[in-house]
Symmetry: C2
Subunit: 291 residues, 2 copies
Protein backbone atom coordinates (compact mmCIF):
# COMPACT_ATOMS: atom_id res chain seq x y z
CA UNK A 1 0.00 0.00 0.00
CA UNK A 2 2.82 2.41 0.93
CA UNK A 3 6.54 2.62 0.26
CA UNK A 4 7.39 4.53 3.39
CA UNK A 5 5.17 5.10 6.40
CA UNK A 6 6.38 7.83 8.74
CA UNK A 7 5.05 7.71 12.31
CA UNK A 8 5.34 10.97 14.23
CA UNK A 9 5.26 9.96 17.91
CA UNK A 10 5.99 6.25 18.44
CA UNK A 11 3.95 5.68 21.60
CA UNK A 12 1.29 3.06 22.35
CA UNK A 13 -0.92 4.10 19.41
CA UNK A 14 1.76 5.11 16.91
CA UNK A 15 3.80 2.01 17.75
CA UNK A 16 0.77 -0.24 17.41
CA UNK A 17 -0.04 1.29 13.99
CA UNK A 18 3.55 0.48 12.98
CA UNK A 19 3.39 -3.10 14.29
CA UNK A 20 0.01 -3.83 12.71
CA UNK A 21 0.98 -2.22 9.38
CA UNK A 22 4.14 -4.33 9.29
CA UNK A 23 2.22 -7.51 10.14
CA UNK A 24 -0.24 -6.77 7.33
CA UNK A 25 2.55 -5.86 4.89
CA UNK A 26 1.14 -2.37 4.29
CA UNK A 27 4.45 -0.51 3.94
CA UNK A 28 7.92 -1.39 2.67
CA UNK A 29 9.60 0.68 5.37
CA UNK A 30 8.34 2.24 8.58
CA UNK A 31 10.21 5.15 10.09
CA UNK A 32 9.63 6.82 13.45
CA UNK A 33 10.12 10.51 14.17
CA UNK A 34 10.40 12.10 17.60
CA UNK A 35 12.03 14.96 19.46
CA UNK A 36 15.42 14.71 21.18
CA UNK A 37 13.78 13.93 24.52
CA UNK A 38 12.04 10.94 22.93
CA UNK A 39 15.35 9.34 21.89
CA UNK A 40 15.32 6.48 24.40
CA UNK A 41 11.76 5.53 23.40
CA UNK A 42 12.71 5.61 19.71
CA UNK A 43 15.77 3.44 20.37
CA UNK A 44 13.56 0.97 22.22
CA UNK A 45 11.06 1.00 19.34
CA UNK A 46 13.83 0.15 16.87
CA UNK A 47 15.29 -2.58 19.10
CA UNK A 48 11.89 -4.17 19.49
CA UNK A 49 11.30 -4.08 15.74
CA UNK A 50 8.32 -1.74 16.06
CA UNK A 51 9.93 0.56 13.46
CA UNK A 52 12.73 -0.06 10.94
CA UNK A 53 14.56 3.07 11.97
CA UNK A 54 14.07 6.47 13.58
CA UNK A 55 15.10 10.00 12.81
CA UNK A 56 15.24 13.20 14.89
CA UNK A 57 15.25 15.46 11.81
CA UNK A 58 11.79 16.12 10.41
CA UNK A 59 13.04 16.90 6.91
CA UNK A 60 14.85 13.56 6.63
CA UNK A 61 11.97 11.77 8.35
CA UNK A 62 9.37 12.73 5.76
CA UNK A 63 11.57 12.38 2.67
CA UNK A 64 9.94 9.91 0.26
CA UNK A 65 7.20 9.06 2.78
CA UNK A 66 3.83 8.53 1.10
CA UNK A 67 1.86 8.38 4.34
CA UNK A 68 2.54 10.35 7.51
CA UNK A 69 0.71 9.38 10.72
CA UNK A 70 0.64 12.01 13.48
CA UNK A 71 0.36 10.03 16.72
CA UNK A 72 1.39 12.63 19.27
CA UNK A 73 -0.81 13.74 22.18
CA UNK A 74 -3.74 15.88 20.99
CA UNK A 75 -2.22 19.06 22.43
CA UNK A 76 0.92 18.73 20.26
CA UNK A 77 -0.83 18.44 16.89
CA UNK A 78 -0.68 22.15 16.07
CA UNK A 79 3.08 22.29 16.65
CA UNK A 80 3.52 19.20 14.45
CA UNK A 81 1.57 20.94 11.68
CA UNK A 82 3.90 23.94 12.04
CA UNK A 83 6.89 21.61 11.77
CA UNK A 84 5.45 19.93 8.68
CA UNK A 85 4.25 23.10 6.92
CA UNK A 86 7.49 23.95 5.03
CA UNK A 87 7.78 20.31 3.93
CA UNK A 88 4.10 19.79 3.06
CA UNK A 89 3.69 17.63 -0.06
CA UNK A 90 0.48 17.44 -2.07
CA UNK A 91 1.04 13.80 -3.00
CA UNK A 92 1.43 12.52 0.57
CA UNK A 93 -1.48 11.39 2.76
CA UNK A 94 -1.35 12.97 6.21
CA UNK A 95 -3.46 11.49 8.98
CA UNK A 96 -3.67 11.61 12.74
CA UNK A 97 -5.05 9.41 15.52
CA UNK A 98 -6.19 12.05 18.01
CA UNK A 99 -9.07 11.41 20.41
CA UNK A 100 -10.66 14.78 19.54
CA UNK A 101 -11.19 16.00 16.01
CA UNK A 102 -12.53 19.57 15.87
CA UNK A 103 -9.24 20.73 17.36
CA UNK A 104 -7.30 18.99 14.56
CA UNK A 105 -9.37 20.83 11.96
CA UNK A 106 -8.99 24.19 13.69
CA UNK A 107 -5.25 23.64 14.29
CA UNK A 108 -4.86 22.96 10.56
CA UNK A 109 -6.83 26.11 9.72
CA UNK A 110 -4.62 28.17 12.01
CA UNK A 111 -1.36 26.81 10.59
CA UNK A 112 -2.27 26.43 6.90
CA UNK A 113 -5.02 29.05 6.53
CA UNK A 114 -7.41 26.25 5.49
CA UNK A 115 -7.61 22.50 5.97
CA UNK A 116 -5.24 20.82 3.47
CA UNK A 117 -7.17 18.47 1.17
CA UNK A 118 -4.68 15.66 1.81
CA UNK A 119 -5.19 15.61 5.58
CA UNK A 120 -7.45 12.70 6.67
CA UNK A 121 -8.25 13.06 10.40
CA UNK A 122 -9.00 9.76 12.14
CA UNK A 123 -9.58 8.34 15.61
CA UNK A 124 -9.07 4.68 16.42
CA UNK A 125 -11.19 3.95 19.51
CA UNK A 126 -8.62 1.75 21.18
CA UNK A 127 -6.11 2.20 23.93
CA UNK A 128 -4.62 0.85 27.10
CA UNK A 129 -3.37 2.20 30.40
CA UNK A 130 0.25 1.54 29.40
CA UNK A 131 2.15 3.98 27.23
CA UNK A 132 5.27 4.18 25.08
CA UNK A 133 6.58 2.07 22.21
CA UNK A 134 7.22 -0.77 24.65
CA UNK A 135 3.43 -1.15 25.10
CA UNK A 136 2.71 -1.31 21.34
CA UNK A 137 1.07 -4.51 20.10
CA UNK A 138 0.07 -6.00 16.73
CA UNK A 139 -3.59 -6.38 17.51
CA UNK A 140 -4.55 -3.19 19.37
CA UNK A 141 -7.03 -2.25 16.64
CA UNK A 142 -8.55 -5.63 15.88
CA UNK A 143 -12.35 -5.47 16.20
CA UNK A 144 -12.17 -1.88 17.38
CA UNK A 145 -14.04 1.02 15.83
CA UNK A 146 -12.30 3.79 13.93
CA UNK A 147 -13.86 7.09 12.97
CA UNK A 148 -12.63 9.13 10.00
CA UNK A 149 -13.77 12.76 10.08
CA UNK A 150 -13.10 14.27 6.65
CA UNK A 151 -13.39 18.02 6.21
CA UNK A 152 -15.47 19.28 3.26
CA UNK A 153 -12.22 19.77 1.31
CA UNK A 154 -10.70 16.33 2.05
CA UNK A 155 -9.89 14.29 -1.07
CA UNK A 156 -12.29 11.32 -1.32
CA UNK A 157 -9.61 9.05 -2.85
CA UNK A 158 -7.39 9.60 0.19
CA UNK A 159 -10.31 8.91 2.56
CA UNK A 160 -10.84 5.61 0.72
CA UNK A 161 -7.14 4.71 0.93
CA UNK A 162 -7.10 5.35 4.67
CA UNK A 163 -10.36 3.44 5.15
CA UNK A 164 -8.70 0.42 3.49
CA UNK A 165 -5.54 0.91 5.55
CA UNK A 166 -7.47 0.93 8.83
CA UNK A 167 -9.69 -1.95 7.80
CA UNK A 168 -6.55 -4.00 7.10
CA UNK A 169 -5.47 -3.21 10.69
CA UNK A 170 -8.72 -4.85 11.86
CA UNK A 171 -10.95 -1.87 12.60
CA UNK A 172 -14.56 -1.24 11.68
CA UNK A 173 -14.48 2.16 10.01
CA UNK A 174 -17.20 4.81 10.28
CA UNK A 175 -17.18 8.20 8.61
CA UNK A 176 -18.79 11.25 10.22
CA UNK A 177 -18.13 14.93 10.65
CA UNK A 178 -15.74 16.10 13.34
CA UNK A 179 -18.38 17.89 15.43
CA UNK A 180 -20.54 14.76 15.66
CA UNK A 181 -17.49 12.69 16.59
CA UNK A 182 -16.58 15.09 19.39
CA UNK A 183 -20.14 15.13 20.77
CA UNK A 184 -20.31 11.32 20.85
CA UNK A 185 -16.90 10.81 22.40
CA UNK A 186 -17.53 13.53 24.99
CA UNK A 187 -20.49 11.52 26.24
CA UNK A 188 -19.11 7.99 26.37
CA UNK A 189 -15.42 8.64 26.91
CA UNK A 190 -14.46 12.16 28.04
CA UNK A 191 -17.26 12.65 30.60
CA UNK A 192 -16.69 9.23 32.23
CA UNK A 193 -12.97 9.99 32.51
CA UNK A 194 -13.68 13.34 34.15
CA UNK A 195 -16.16 11.76 36.57
CA UNK A 196 -13.67 9.03 37.47
CA UNK A 197 -10.87 11.58 38.02
CA UNK A 198 -13.19 13.82 40.08
CA UNK A 199 -14.55 11.01 42.23
CA UNK A 200 -11.13 9.51 42.98
CA UNK A 201 -9.68 12.97 43.64
CA UNK A 202 -12.47 13.60 46.16
CA UNK A 203 -12.27 10.17 47.82
CA UNK A 204 -8.48 10.23 47.80
CA UNK A 205 -8.53 13.24 50.10
CA UNK A 206 -10.98 11.44 52.43
CA UNK A 207 -8.85 8.32 52.37
CA UNK A 208 -5.87 10.28 53.64
CA UNK A 209 -7.75 10.60 56.91
CA UNK A 210 -9.75 7.41 57.17
CA UNK A 211 -8.42 4.53 55.07
CA UNK A 212 -11.66 4.13 53.16
CA UNK A 213 -9.84 2.50 50.24
CA UNK A 214 -8.98 -0.46 52.47
CA UNK A 215 -12.59 -1.64 52.25
CA UNK A 216 -13.21 -0.88 48.59
CA UNK A 217 -13.91 -3.85 46.37
CA UNK A 218 -13.73 -4.99 42.76
CA UNK A 219 -16.65 -2.75 41.74
CA UNK A 220 -14.60 0.27 42.80
CA UNK A 221 -11.56 -1.07 40.97
CA UNK A 222 -13.41 -1.29 37.65
CA UNK A 223 -15.32 1.96 38.13
CA UNK A 224 -12.10 3.88 38.70
CA UNK A 225 -9.82 2.13 36.20
CA UNK A 226 -9.96 5.09 33.81
CA UNK A 227 -8.75 7.40 36.61
CA UNK A 228 -5.37 5.69 36.13
CA UNK A 229 -5.16 7.00 32.56
CA UNK A 230 -2.29 9.26 31.51
CA UNK A 231 -3.03 12.74 32.99
CA UNK A 232 -1.14 14.62 30.24
CA UNK A 233 -3.09 12.92 27.48
CA UNK A 234 -6.39 13.51 29.26
CA UNK A 235 -5.62 17.13 30.04
CA UNK A 236 -5.12 17.66 26.29
CA UNK A 237 -8.34 15.86 25.38
CA UNK A 238 -10.45 17.67 27.97
CA UNK A 239 -9.17 21.10 26.99
CA UNK A 240 -9.54 20.32 23.28
CA UNK A 241 -13.16 19.21 23.65
CA UNK A 242 -14.30 21.37 26.55
CA UNK A 243 -17.15 22.92 24.57
CA UNK A 244 -18.82 19.51 24.41
CA UNK A 245 -17.73 18.35 27.86
CA UNK A 246 -18.85 21.32 29.98
CA UNK A 247 -22.57 21.00 29.08
CA UNK A 248 -22.39 17.26 29.84
CA UNK A 249 -20.91 17.94 33.28
CA UNK A 250 -23.80 20.32 33.88
CA UNK A 251 -26.33 17.70 32.76
CA UNK A 252 -24.76 15.12 35.04
CA UNK A 253 -25.06 17.49 37.99
CA UNK A 254 -28.78 17.88 37.18
CA UNK A 255 -29.09 14.08 37.07
CA UNK A 256 -27.32 13.81 40.44
CA UNK A 257 -29.68 16.48 41.79
CA UNK A 258 -32.58 14.30 40.67
CA UNK A 259 -31.24 11.18 42.41
CA UNK A 260 -30.44 13.19 45.53
CA UNK A 261 -33.96 14.56 45.71
CA UNK A 262 -35.50 11.10 45.10
CA UNK A 263 -33.40 9.74 47.96
CA UNK A 264 -34.32 12.68 50.16
CA UNK A 265 -38.04 12.14 49.57
CA UNK A 266 -37.85 8.31 49.71
CA UNK A 267 -39.28 8.08 46.20
CA UNK A 268 -38.57 4.38 45.87
CA UNK A 269 -40.56 3.97 42.69
CA UNK A 270 -38.71 6.65 40.71
CA UNK A 271 -35.34 5.51 42.07
CA UNK A 272 -36.11 1.94 41.07
CA UNK A 273 -37.13 3.14 37.60
CA UNK A 274 -33.91 5.13 37.23
CA UNK A 275 -31.71 2.20 38.28
CA UNK A 276 -33.66 -0.20 36.08
CA UNK A 277 -33.51 2.12 33.05
CA UNK A 278 -29.73 2.43 33.55
CA UNK A 279 -29.32 -1.35 33.69
CA UNK A 280 -31.30 -1.80 30.49
CA UNK A 281 -29.41 1.01 28.73
CA UNK A 282 -26.11 -0.61 29.66
CA UNK A 283 -27.39 -3.91 28.29
CA UNK A 284 -28.11 -2.10 25.01
CA UNK A 285 -24.49 -0.90 25.03
CA UNK A 286 -23.19 -4.42 25.79
CA UNK A 287 -25.21 -5.87 22.91
CA UNK A 288 -23.59 -3.32 20.56
CA UNK A 289 -20.15 -3.74 22.11
CA UNK A 290 -20.10 -7.49 21.86
CA UNK A 291 -21.34 -7.66 18.27
CA UNK B 1 -18.60 -25.31 64.76
CA UNK B 2 -22.40 -25.57 64.40
CA UNK B 3 -24.93 -28.38 64.38
CA UNK B 4 -27.47 -26.61 62.22
CA UNK B 5 -26.95 -23.49 60.17
CA UNK B 6 -30.14 -21.84 58.99
CA UNK B 7 -29.83 -19.51 55.99
CA UNK B 8 -32.71 -17.07 55.56
CA UNK B 9 -32.63 -16.11 51.90
CA UNK B 10 -30.58 -18.51 49.76
CA UNK B 11 -29.40 -16.09 47.06
CA UNK B 12 -25.89 -15.39 45.80
CA UNK B 13 -24.58 -14.42 49.24
CA UNK B 14 -26.64 -16.80 51.42
CA UNK B 15 -25.97 -19.67 49.02
CA UNK B 16 -22.25 -18.92 48.94
CA UNK B 17 -22.15 -18.86 52.77
CA UNK B 18 -23.80 -22.31 52.69
CA UNK B 19 -21.40 -23.70 50.08
CA UNK B 20 -18.30 -22.33 51.81
CA UNK B 21 -19.46 -23.48 55.27
CA UNK B 22 -20.06 -26.97 53.90
CA UNK B 23 -16.67 -27.06 52.19
CA UNK B 24 -15.00 -26.03 55.46
CA UNK B 25 -17.08 -28.50 57.51
CA UNK B 26 -18.49 -25.74 59.72
CA UNK B 27 -21.98 -27.18 60.21
CA UNK B 28 -23.49 -30.68 60.35
CA UNK B 29 -26.58 -29.58 58.47
CA UNK B 30 -27.44 -26.49 56.47
CA UNK B 31 -31.07 -25.55 55.97
CA UNK B 32 -32.53 -22.82 53.78
CA UNK B 33 -35.61 -20.76 54.56
CA UNK B 34 -37.58 -18.65 52.12
CA UNK B 35 -41.08 -17.44 51.33
CA UNK B 36 -43.50 -19.30 49.05
CA UNK B 37 -42.47 -17.20 46.07
CA UNK B 38 -38.87 -18.32 46.59
CA UNK B 39 -39.78 -22.02 46.23
CA UNK B 40 -38.19 -22.60 42.82
CA UNK B 41 -34.93 -21.01 43.97
CA UNK B 42 -34.92 -23.15 47.13
CA UNK B 43 -35.58 -26.30 45.10
CA UNK B 44 -32.68 -25.38 42.83
CA UNK B 45 -30.47 -24.76 45.88
CA UNK B 46 -31.28 -28.22 47.21
CA UNK B 47 -30.74 -29.93 43.84
CA UNK B 48 -27.37 -28.23 43.45
CA UNK B 49 -26.33 -29.30 46.95
CA UNK B 50 -26.05 -25.70 48.15
CA UNK B 51 -28.28 -26.61 51.14
CA UNK B 52 -29.25 -29.97 52.63
CA UNK B 53 -32.90 -29.06 52.67
CA UNK B 54 -35.29 -26.13 52.72
CA UNK B 55 -38.35 -25.17 54.66
CA UNK B 56 -41.11 -22.59 54.09
CA UNK B 57 -42.15 -22.58 57.77
CA UNK B 58 -40.00 -20.29 59.91
CA UNK B 59 -40.76 -22.17 63.14
CA UNK B 60 -39.53 -25.47 61.70
CA UNK B 61 -36.66 -23.76 59.94
CA UNK B 62 -35.10 -22.40 63.12
CA UNK B 63 -35.74 -25.42 65.35
CA UNK B 64 -32.41 -26.63 66.77
CA UNK B 65 -30.45 -24.16 64.67
CA UNK B 66 -27.45 -22.73 66.55
CA UNK B 67 -26.64 -20.10 63.97
CA UNK B 68 -29.10 -18.16 61.82
CA UNK B 69 -27.77 -16.10 58.88
CA UNK B 70 -30.13 -13.45 57.52
CA UNK B 71 -29.14 -13.05 53.86
CA UNK B 72 -32.18 -11.26 52.46
CA UNK B 73 -32.03 -7.87 50.73
CA UNK B 74 -31.34 -5.06 53.20
CA UNK B 75 -34.90 -3.75 52.97
CA UNK B 76 -36.38 -7.05 54.18
CA UNK B 77 -34.35 -7.34 57.39
CA UNK B 78 -36.93 -5.66 59.62
CA UNK B 79 -39.68 -8.03 58.47
CA UNK B 80 -37.36 -11.00 59.08
CA UNK B 81 -36.76 -9.75 62.64
CA UNK B 82 -40.54 -9.54 63.11
CA UNK B 83 -40.86 -13.10 61.86
CA UNK B 84 -38.11 -14.31 64.20
CA UNK B 85 -39.22 -12.36 67.28
CA UNK B 86 -41.65 -14.96 68.74
CA UNK B 87 -39.04 -17.69 68.18
CA UNK B 88 -36.02 -15.70 69.42
CA UNK B 89 -33.61 -17.92 71.35
CA UNK B 90 -30.90 -16.55 73.68
CA UNK B 91 -28.52 -19.40 72.89
CA UNK B 92 -28.56 -18.96 69.12
CA UNK B 93 -26.22 -16.63 67.23
CA UNK B 94 -28.06 -14.44 64.75
CA UNK B 95 -26.12 -12.65 62.07
CA UNK B 96 -26.78 -10.90 58.79
CA UNK B 97 -24.82 -10.04 55.66
CA UNK B 98 -26.39 -6.70 54.74
CA UNK B 99 -24.45 -4.03 52.86
CA UNK B 100 -25.58 -1.34 55.30
CA UNK B 101 -25.39 -1.70 59.06
CA UNK B 102 -27.02 1.21 60.92
CA UNK B 103 -30.36 0.15 59.44
CA UNK B 104 -29.91 -3.38 60.88
CA UNK B 105 -29.30 -1.91 64.32
CA UNK B 106 -32.29 0.44 64.10
CA UNK B 107 -34.55 -2.29 62.66
CA UNK B 108 -33.63 -4.48 65.64
CA UNK B 109 -34.38 -1.61 68.04
CA UNK B 110 -37.78 -1.06 66.43
CA UNK B 111 -38.74 -4.75 66.56
CA UNK B 112 -37.16 -5.82 69.87
CA UNK B 113 -37.07 -2.51 71.78
CA UNK B 114 -33.28 -2.84 71.99
CA UNK B 115 -30.55 -4.64 70.05
CA UNK B 116 -30.49 -8.30 71.14
CA UNK B 117 -27.08 -9.19 72.59
CA UNK B 118 -26.90 -12.31 70.40
CA UNK B 119 -27.22 -10.43 67.10
CA UNK B 120 -23.84 -10.07 65.37
CA UNK B 121 -24.26 -7.75 62.32
CA UNK B 122 -21.76 -8.40 59.55
CA UNK B 123 -21.00 -7.39 55.97
CA UNK B 124 -18.89 -9.51 53.65
CA UNK B 125 -17.51 -7.16 50.98
CA UNK B 126 -18.02 -9.56 48.12
CA UNK B 127 -20.55 -9.99 45.40
CA UNK B 128 -21.18 -10.51 41.72
CA UNK B 129 -23.60 -9.26 39.10
CA UNK B 130 -25.42 -12.60 39.06
CA UNK B 131 -28.03 -13.47 41.67
CA UNK B 132 -29.88 -16.46 43.09
CA UNK B 133 -28.72 -19.78 44.56
CA UNK B 134 -27.61 -20.86 41.10
CA UNK B 135 -24.88 -18.19 41.23
CA UNK B 136 -23.55 -19.31 44.65
CA UNK B 137 -19.92 -20.47 44.74
CA UNK B 138 -17.55 -21.99 47.32
CA UNK B 139 -14.94 -19.27 47.13
CA UNK B 140 -16.93 -16.02 46.96
CA UNK B 141 -15.39 -14.83 50.24
CA UNK B 142 -11.80 -15.99 49.81
CA UNK B 143 -9.39 -13.06 50.28
CA UNK B 144 -12.30 -10.65 50.66
CA UNK B 145 -12.81 -8.29 53.57
CA UNK B 146 -15.59 -8.74 56.10
CA UNK B 147 -16.69 -6.13 58.60
CA UNK B 148 -18.42 -7.06 61.86
CA UNK B 149 -20.26 -4.13 63.48
CA UNK B 150 -21.13 -5.14 67.05
CA UNK B 151 -23.51 -2.98 69.04
CA UNK B 152 -22.43 -1.97 72.56
CA UNK B 153 -24.60 -4.80 73.93
CA UNK B 154 -23.34 -7.53 71.57
CA UNK B 155 -21.84 -10.57 73.35
CA UNK B 156 -18.04 -10.65 72.78
CA UNK B 157 -17.97 -14.47 72.75
CA UNK B 158 -20.43 -14.51 69.86
CA UNK B 159 -18.43 -11.87 68.00
CA UNK B 160 -15.38 -14.12 68.38
CA UNK B 161 -17.29 -17.18 67.14
CA UNK B 162 -18.49 -15.33 64.07
CA UNK B 163 -15.02 -13.90 63.45
CA UNK B 164 -13.67 -17.47 63.39
CA UNK B 165 -16.54 -18.61 61.17
CA UNK B 166 -15.86 -15.88 58.59
CA UNK B 167 -12.13 -16.37 58.74
CA UNK B 168 -12.68 -20.06 57.94
CA UNK B 169 -14.65 -18.92 54.85
CA UNK B 170 -11.51 -17.06 53.75
CA UNK B 171 -12.26 -13.46 54.72
CA UNK B 172 -10.06 -10.90 56.44
CA UNK B 173 -12.22 -9.72 59.33
CA UNK B 174 -12.30 -6.15 60.66
CA UNK B 175 -14.42 -4.91 63.55
CA UNK B 176 -15.80 -1.37 63.66
CA UNK B 177 -18.94 0.45 64.68
CA UNK B 178 -21.90 0.49 62.32
CA UNK B 179 -21.80 4.25 61.67
CA UNK B 180 -18.15 4.10 60.58
CA UNK B 181 -18.94 1.13 58.34
CA UNK B 182 -21.78 2.98 56.66
CA UNK B 183 -19.65 6.11 56.10
CA UNK B 184 -16.85 4.08 54.51
CA UNK B 185 -19.09 2.00 52.27
CA UNK B 186 -21.09 5.06 51.20
CA UNK B 187 -17.87 6.54 49.82
CA UNK B 188 -16.33 3.60 47.99
CA UNK B 189 -19.40 1.56 47.08
CA UNK B 190 -22.75 3.35 47.35
CA UNK B 191 -21.69 6.67 45.78
CA UNK B 192 -19.95 4.99 42.80
CA UNK B 193 -23.07 2.88 42.19
CA UNK B 194 -25.28 5.98 42.22
CA UNK B 195 -22.93 7.83 39.89
CA UNK B 196 -22.83 4.87 37.48
CA UNK B 197 -26.64 4.56 37.52
CA UNK B 198 -27.06 8.33 37.05
CA UNK B 199 -24.54 8.59 34.22
CA UNK B 200 -25.92 5.60 32.30
CA UNK B 201 -29.48 6.82 32.87
CA UNK B 202 -28.52 10.20 31.40
CA UNK B 203 -26.51 8.79 28.47
CA UNK B 204 -29.12 6.11 27.80
CA UNK B 205 -31.65 8.81 26.99
CA UNK B 206 -29.14 10.48 24.64
CA UNK B 207 -28.34 7.15 23.02
CA UNK B 208 -31.98 6.66 22.13
CA UNK B 209 -31.55 9.55 19.70
CA UNK B 210 -27.97 9.26 18.53
CA UNK B 211 -26.43 5.80 18.97
CA UNK B 212 -23.60 7.12 21.10
CA UNK B 213 -23.14 3.67 22.70
CA UNK B 214 -22.02 2.30 19.33
CA UNK B 215 -18.71 4.12 19.72
CA UNK B 216 -18.15 3.49 23.42
CA UNK B 217 -15.15 1.37 24.31
CA UNK B 218 -13.79 -0.89 27.03
CA UNK B 219 -13.23 2.04 29.41
CA UNK B 220 -16.95 2.74 29.33
CA UNK B 221 -17.72 -0.95 29.83
CA UNK B 222 -15.70 -1.12 33.04
CA UNK B 223 -16.80 2.29 34.30
CA UNK B 224 -20.46 1.33 34.01
CA UNK B 225 -20.29 -2.32 35.08
CA UNK B 226 -21.88 -1.52 38.46
CA UNK B 227 -24.85 0.08 36.67
CA UNK B 228 -25.83 -3.48 35.78
CA UNK B 229 -26.23 -4.35 39.47
CA UNK B 230 -29.59 -5.53 40.79
CA UNK B 231 -31.83 -2.43 41.05
CA UNK B 232 -33.93 -3.83 43.92
CA UNK B 233 -30.89 -4.54 46.05
CA UNK B 234 -29.41 -1.12 45.32
CA UNK B 235 -32.65 0.70 45.97
CA UNK B 236 -32.65 -0.89 49.44
CA UNK B 237 -29.03 0.01 50.10
CA UNK B 238 -29.38 3.60 48.92
CA UNK B 239 -32.50 4.24 50.97
CA UNK B 240 -30.99 2.55 54.04
CA UNK B 241 -27.82 4.63 53.92
CA UNK B 242 -29.13 7.86 52.42
CA UNK B 243 -27.94 9.96 55.36
CA UNK B 244 -24.36 9.14 54.41
CA UNK B 245 -24.91 9.12 50.66
CA UNK B 246 -26.66 12.48 50.19
CA UNK B 247 -23.76 14.57 51.55
CA UNK B 248 -21.36 12.64 49.31
CA UNK B 249 -23.48 13.38 46.23
CA UNK B 250 -23.32 17.04 47.23
CA UNK B 251 -19.54 16.87 47.63
CA UNK B 252 -19.19 15.23 44.23
CA UNK B 253 -21.22 18.01 42.63
CA UNK B 254 -18.84 20.53 44.20
CA UNK B 255 -15.91 18.55 42.81
CA UNK B 256 -17.54 18.53 39.36
CA UNK B 257 -18.09 22.29 39.69
CA UNK B 258 -14.37 22.63 40.34
CA UNK B 259 -13.37 20.63 37.25
CA UNK B 260 -15.93 22.49 35.14
CA UNK B 261 -14.56 25.85 36.20
CA UNK B 262 -10.94 24.72 35.62
CA UNK B 263 -11.93 23.64 32.10
CA UNK B 264 -13.80 26.88 31.53
CA UNK B 265 -10.78 28.97 32.52
CA UNK B 266 -8.21 26.70 30.78
CA UNK B 267 -6.43 26.16 34.10
CA UNK B 268 -4.21 23.39 32.73
CA UNK B 269 -1.99 23.28 35.78
CA UNK B 270 -4.78 22.67 38.29
CA UNK B 271 -6.51 20.18 35.98
CA UNK B 272 -3.26 18.28 35.56
CA UNK B 273 -2.77 18.28 39.34
CA UNK B 274 -6.31 16.95 39.89
CA UNK B 275 -5.91 14.15 37.33
CA UNK B 276 -2.46 13.28 38.68
CA UNK B 277 -3.65 13.23 42.30
CA UNK B 278 -6.52 10.93 41.28
CA UNK B 279 -4.15 8.55 39.52
CA UNK B 280 -1.88 8.39 42.56
CA UNK B 281 -4.83 7.91 44.94
CA UNK B 282 -6.08 5.03 42.81
CA UNK B 283 -2.61 3.49 42.92
CA UNK B 284 -2.80 3.68 46.74
CA UNK B 285 -6.11 1.79 46.54
CA UNK B 286 -4.63 -0.83 44.17
CA UNK B 287 -1.69 -1.39 46.51
CA UNK B 288 -4.15 -2.06 49.36
CA UNK B 289 -6.47 -4.12 47.16
CA UNK B 290 -3.80 -6.38 45.83
CA UNK B 291 -2.17 -7.08 49.21
Amino acid sequence: MFNKLCIIGVGLIGGSVARAARQQGLSKTILGFGREDDLVNLQTAKQLGVIDDYCLNISEAVTNADCIVIATPVGAIESVFTLLKPLWNEKVIYTDVGSTKINVITAAERVFGCVPDNLVPAHPIAGAEQSGAVAAVDDLFVNKRLIITPDKSTRPDMVQTMRKFWERLGTQVAIMDAAHHDAILAATSHLPHIVAFALVDMLGHKDEQSEIFKYAASGFKDFTRIASSDPTMWLDICIANKNEIIPLIQQLKVELDKVESLLYSNDNEQLFNTFTYAGKARQRFLDLYEN
